[in-house]
């Protein structure tokens, strides 16, 4: 089987054309000489957690941000990296497959070889298992040839998300040492990047020479913070799914008799569902974050949908499309509590057959109320991060069934006078995960691959490769690196018995920001979407012509470019310093003091109030 990895394969016409596509590099990475400028030391966004993080990451917390600049860039203290000794670099797919992953490897390969053709890039076969077992494949032009701009992780394969236990961490270190790796590049989402940070710290502690770099690649779009605007794969997933959702909308409007309930892959957060809703304008989308914030029960949600069905029926519309994120089930308070009880019983070693009899009276009553199919799904053993097996729980079927029961009841009572309610359920996920990456994901991943090289060339450890200002054209993209530990937060409480994560710093998944612009845009259109069928069809993912250069709407509407703005602030501070030099007038000093005192007071208040908030 291993012999199949990286083997050139037969490609279709479209695939062949795509292998010929060469992503550009932003100006800062062009040529063989790149400067690195170090910013201030990066701190954790959650000040209250900072001391826990600094304690857990003594070697890798408190490092500065890094910005990569053109050789010609007019920055006084930027350092030109001029030495490029031959290096040995390992790369591994840790997170779940996400479109564009192959391009990270391609970009890294091109950067490595451009700076020193004797350097070697070593891919681990079979993901984290291959890392521990030292199963490798040297990445060459030939290996890459049929995987450029292609979906999937099949060039190398993957197994587990996590490299976390002492045994795994030691195994990874042994592999890095045995293979004499100068750096290990880990491709994945929040879990894999948390592990990357831990590996970096452990390696530094043990004086292992291998530097660890993380690359943000996950279709869920939930690795998102001040430094990371979006992840590789999110754009493709949303485009492929939006196409299918739009097809369903067109279908619903053509037949005028079905409600389509569509569950979207995307783990706990609802980023994919939000973006797809912005692209395709279905009648309704129920975000997990809204449900959690409003503490809506399953009955509240059912009623909300039923009222929508009824309002539409009054306009003679007996069809519709409703999006449901797969994480919704964990956002519904009573279902989450039930899942936590089940999880706790799993933890105590209670067998699946016996769990239902050991539930608390309250949880048991809810459990017995639920249809048989969903009971079985709720009883599934949780995933390695203690979350439920979201992809296996058919929340869309549960809701469709509850809505149908309620609509039949209303029909009987005469409060609903429309046609009989008909629902058809779908789960959209696996069918998009292996898709050919969009141009944006191809470009973004390829550039991140290059950035990874510059991080290791600068000798940085425990960093994540970042590209910001992504909503602007590629020639305006900023490349940099941020310590992964500064993206961490510390959970101080957690419902239910799942206490494993409490107190441990981790890169946690980001929820949809209900105060953000993308959500605001969704809400602006929500009532016309609900009642007027203003369906929008972005069409199938195109590689040429209109639509081929589009980016996620949620990316484009947000104020982004944190890295650029951090730099801007530095410039202001420098400017103040240069104006208010000893010898300046009293008035200038007075004005400066007054303004700065006001700024620092405001920031102090904002910073302290933010500590009052639970970070998650």
């Amino acid at each position: 089987m291993d012999s199949d990895y990286g083997v050139p394969r037969e490609l279709s016409e479209v695939q062949k054309k795509r292998t010929l596509y060469q992503p550009d590099l932003p100006p800062c990475l062009q040529g063989t000489t790149v400067r690195v400028e170090y910013g201030d030391v990066a701190i954790a966004a959650d000040p209250a957690g900072a001391h826990v993080i600094s304690h857990a990451f003594p070697h890798t917390y408190g490092q500065p941000l890094a910005h990569f600049l053109r050789k010609a860039a007019n920055v006084a203290d930027a350092k030109v990296i001029s030495e490029h000794p031959a290096v040995r670099v390992g790369i591994v797919f840790c997170g779940r497959q996400s479109p564009g992953g192959h391009n990270v490897i391609w970009g890294l390969h091109d950067a490595i070889k451009a700076h020193n053709p004797s350097s070697k890039l070593i891919g681990f076969l079979g993901g984290s298992d291959g890392l521990l077992a030292q199963k490798t494949l040297e990445i060459t032009d030939e290996v890459l040839s049929s995987y450029k701009n292609q979906g999937g992780y099949d060039m190398l394969g993957r197994t587990k998300d996590q490299i976390r236990t002492t045994e795994q961490v030691n195994g990874a270190m042994a592999s890095c040492q045995a293979l004499k790796l100068d750096a290990l590049i880990i491709i994945g989402g929040v879990t894999s990047n948390t592990d990357a940070a831990q590996l970096a710290e452990t390696f530094a502690e043990a004086k292992c020479a291998t530097k660890v770099v993380g690359v943000p690649v996950t279709l869920n779009g939930d690795l998102k913070n001040q430094f990371v605007e979006t992840t590789v794969g999110f754009d493709t997933i949303c485009k492929v799914n939006s196409q299918l959702i739009s097809n369903m909308c067109t279908d619903a409007l053509s037949a005028e008799k079905y409600y389509y309930f569509i569950r979207m892959m995307g783990r706990k957060a609802s980023h994919v569902a939000l973006e797809c809703a912005l692209q395709s304008h279905p009648n309704m989308v129920i975000l997990g974050e809204e449900v959690a914030a409003s503490k809506l029960t399953i009955f509240d949600i059912t009623k909300q949908i039923c009222d929508a069905v009824q309002a539409r029926a009054e306009k003679d519309k007996n069809h519709g499309v409703i999006l449901i994120p797969e994480g919704l089930v964990e956002s519904i308070p009573e279902l989450y509590a039930l899942l936590q009880e089940i999880n706790g019983l799993h933890g105590k070693g209670v067998s699946i057959e016996n769990i239902s009899s050991q539930l608390s009276p309250w949880a048991s009553a809810l459990f017995e109320f639920l249809p048989q199919f969903i009971r079985q799904q709720l009883l599934l053993r949780p995933e390695s991060d203690d979350s439920a097996q979201l992809s296996q729980i058919e929340t869309e079927k549960l809701l469709a069934q509850l809505v149908e029961t309620e609509m039949n009841k209303r029909l009987k009572e005469g409060t609903y006078k429309g046609k009989k309610f008909n629902a058809i359920c779908h789960f959209f996920g696996y069918q998009a995960r292996g898709a050919m990456p969009s141009k944006f994901d191809c470009d973004y991943a390829y550039v991140l691959g290059h950035v990874s090289y510059h991080i290791l060339a600068a000798g940085l450890n425990g960093y994540m490769a970042t590209v910001t200002n992504l909503k602007s054209p590629l020639n305006k993209w900023r490349c940099g690196a941020a310590p992964i530990s500064s993206m961490m937060t510390v959970k101080r409480w957690s419902r239910g018995p799942s206490t494993t994560q409490i107190g441990k710093p981790a890169v946690h998944m980001a929820s949809v920001d209900l105060r953000g612009k993308a959500y605001e845009l969704l809400r602006q259109n929500s009532s016309s979407c609900l009642l007027e069928d203003i369906y929008r069809n972005p069409g199938p993912l195109q590689f040429e012509g209109p639509g081929s250069d589009s980016k996620p709407i949620s990316l484009c509407v947000e104020d982004q470019d944190y890295m650029g703005r951090i730099k801007k602030l530095q410039e202001y501070l420098e400017k103040v310093k240069s104006i208010v030099k000893p010898g300046c007038s009293q008035d200038v000093l007075k004005a400066a003091l007054s303004a700065m005192s006001s700024v620092t007071d405001t920031l102090a208040i904002m910073t302290s109030s933010s500590t009052g908030q639970a970070p998650l």
Copy 2:
């Protein structure tokens, strides 16, 4: 609600670009003058049914084929249609939505207006219901503007497939007369075209002036016969689904732990599954036609899959992709028999709750053996054509469950030594049905629209619009028309109590031809597909660049162009006549007689033996 029909709507970038795409016309339809040449009288392919058909269709059976030719075409007895009085034409979406349907209307509109700007095209709103209720919308350039080259049937909507009962037929006639229609164009599949033929006959009998024309539009690809090479929508559906299947293959190969069981929409026949398999090379596809021909039981199929899983595991492959046509359930003998019993009890008015207790002991044993979810689905009331609700029966889940049970058993017994079998199930159908049509479907539908006009301009009744030689470039396409009644066959037997169709001529759906070239191609590759993962990814449907001009593989490998070859034969016969004229030599006459006697003997034998075969 009706006010929403045909309303211009907001389009995405890709949609806008597509509305600007103008399909070409083949040379024979260019310009405003078209000649029509009549071929021989068309007979039914099934000679044994011919007298039943001629009896049922006294006015419309036994009409000649029609070929549309360029004005300049050098054919002696072709008739130039030079009179183009203003006409009033109605058009209705009868069959289920299929990508490209809107383009039939657009093509018809353009042809009508090009020949007489005073002519009117009237669309029926809400499909067959709208036809009966005389709900109409005049089709204009403005109405068409945002629906050109777009998917769905939402410009006009649709309701039922059938216009069959006396009440419906009379209602349709009343509408045609009230609206003074010169012609009624019916868009749909086998059911709708059977009804079109019946309407044509009834109208002719009643001296109603409206001519009826059918247009072959169905995603299932099962309206296929000597005159019809493929249907509008089939190409798009197969492309959209093949993309998704390919994504699943890439995903399976990346994670290496799942078997994906994918059920394909497509009704009873397996054309969609066959074409998608040819495009994407999944590990296995189980065609209903194979199962029926070999009389495989559900246990045989389970064993076949289990053996495949085991063989793959021996090559260290623990993943795979298996396609299952939705019609499979009706091809499995014992399940079909069970469905027929249930159907019979439905017919006797037995309520769903009581059906299981009234099954025969044999059927009851099978029923009780099946998992709960599938029992409920089997009990669903059958569709209007007496077939089971195929889209609702999750055969893929049934098979996955049976395979899992068997693999666990083999694992326990030690006969299987691979990893634990994991299946994930999907149903691909609704998500493709509303898709934006491929260039091929846009072109084909647009040309069929034009052909429909020339049929009605020639005053033909009960014909279907045909375009043949489709695998060649558009400028080689042949346009014509064939009496729908000559596409009919007569079922002389049927299993189970569903006897409604026995003895009645109908356009029956075509099964996959197990002696055809497409099936041969599938079988050639099947063992390497099974074991070697030679997955092929055609990529997302493209409108520009490579892949955008591709056509269904099953269309391209078959010997097609029946209409062209029928004409070729005529030419040969004419040539013989012109050579063997009175006065020719004895030798020439002798040679001709000998050759012709041999030809006629051979054909007589072939024709009589074909009557020995059951046509369905």
